[in-house]
Symmetry: C2
Subunit: 307 residues, 2 copies
């Protein structure tokens, strides 16, 4: 089985949406990526850090899904990264209520020995120096390196971000961030400029409006599945990235054509994630549901105009 | 050849975008619908009204495309409907600078005798009483009646709008308008509620984010083609509607499956419309370009996950 190395936060989230609020629940980019990638036939490991306030039950939840947590450092006496946010009524925007870096402040990632030759590396949203630090530890060039990031790092660590962007094959980023990073309003122009920064493939996530994949002059678009109700968007982007990276790892094929399928798998998994609070839906999800919804994606977009 | 009856304004527009501004140029929903539908193998007629300030050159432009203008009333001494607007930098929103109804204020539509048995009727955005007035004159039930409308009529003529909505098969409406009409934020729920108002098919236009077609529990999504530059969005929605209605008229098939193709044709034609000011691009467009871009639409959305 191919190996997927995941880097990203493992955290506590407290979330408020128009539908309710949660206490501290399991969250973090690394968590969502791991849970999503676990739907594929692969080996995976998460490199991250938590405090010793992190419940064993959450660790078990990861290991039950065959996720190697030997690279998940547990800091004695430390507190786990905590994020709290409140979504607006349209669920398209949110306010951060609290961010406590805690153990994340001094995090030095350590890649497990047997993942230094990972086939695919998924760098979840984290400080660009942590992302670079992971790449520095690799002993062989992965088939694909995927990087996710956000506007926060463009604001406060742009040179470090540009350095790590140079080293990756795929960047996933949302539409506003693509505009900020490139200085271009048109997403077509933005994607072209970002490709010049390093990544051969640019994935632009548009939330409820789907996702675009750019590679040279090739473009592919995957819609988000129209849902009756979005309950909690937290983790949707990470779940998308995990599905994308997971499918590529399983299929060992980094062509543009195969990335189309990876984008569809990512969108498919993300469509489940938003149905309940936090990781709840991803934890209860089974493979039959995933396949059944893939059929919906197919009928949502396929047409038969003869050309 | 099948007959398409088009109702909608034929007008002067003055447009400002970040790329420049125009004097009074040819515009109006009926005009855009007519120009777009003219790419299909059909007979069409426009029911509308202009003043005698309307240039012969614009009338010729319509008749050269085989559009019957015997239902286009020319009011002696009257002035043509005029709209002026300024788009914001993102081109997703605009301010109306001026609206002069002129001859439109007292417009009584008259359907040409030989279109009272039209196969398809496309009711472009106009006062709902004018739209109803056209349906009242029909002598046989069309295969399909498509209605386009906007928030303005929901604000100031809602009962009349609901009356005409009851009588149509397809409604095309943008996302914000669908939310306003239904009182539902979720587009899935909005489409279900609007279907209960009468139309079996609901098309929700999302501009640069594509279009959704709803019919019972079936959904289809067509993306907008990602463009380097959108020059002027004026008329894109009408061009979309014209392509949709034109393809249905030509193909004589009102199944959900065929409407998928119609939505793609509509999106395709709209993607040209926005490339230049006003009707300029639609006038210079040829069928080869249309077919070539259809291939782009196919590669933009088609994937081959085996299920």
């Amino acid at each position: 089985m191919n190996k997927l190395l995941i880097v990203g936060t493992v955290a506590f989230d407290a979330i408020e949406t128009p539908f309710g609020k949660t206490d501290k629940i399991l969250g973090g980019a690394g968590t969502y990526i791991g849970l999503s990638a676990a739907f594929f036939n692969l080996q995976s490991a998460i490199v991250s850090v938590v405090g010793d306030d992190f419940p064993q039950e959450y660790l078990d939840l990861l290991t039950e899904r065959n996720i190697d947590i030997s690279g998940l450092e547990i800091v004695k006496g430390g507190k786990t990264f905590f994020w709290s946010g409140r979504y607006h009524n349209d669920l398209n925007s949110r306010d951060t209520l609290d961010t406590q870096l805690n153990v994340l402040a001094d995090f030095q990632p350590k890649v497990p020995e047997n993942y230094k030759n990972a086939d695919v590396v998924m760098l979840g949203n984290l400080h660009p120096l942590v992302q670079s630090g992971v790449l520095d530890q690799l002993e062989s060039k992965p088939k694909l390196i995927v990087l996710d990031t956000m506007n926060f790092w463009m604001d406060c660590a742009l040179p470090e971000l540009l350095d790590v962007i140079k080293r990756v094959d795929v960047i996933t980023i949302n539409d506003e961030e693509a505009r900020q990073l490139s200085g271009e309003y048109s997403l077509v122009k933005a994607a072209a400029k970002i490709q010049e920064m390093g990544p051969e493939f640019v994935v632009i996530k548009k939330g409820e409006h789907g996702a675009l994949l750019f590679h040279g002059s090739n473009v592919f678009f995957a819609p988000a599945l129209p849902l009756e109700e979005v309950f909690d968007p937290t983790g949707a982007g990470d779940t998308f990235a995990g599905g994308f990276a997971g499918f590529i790892t399983q299929s060992e094929n980094v062509s543009f054509e195969n990335m189309k399928n990876a984008i569809i798998y990512g969108s498919n998994l993300a469509s489940f994630c938003v149905e309940k609070f936090g990781t709840e839906r991803m934890v209860s999800l089974d493979k039959k549901e995933v396949v059944s919804r893939l059929k919906q994606f197919k009928s949502l977009t396929q047409f038969d105009i003869e050309l």
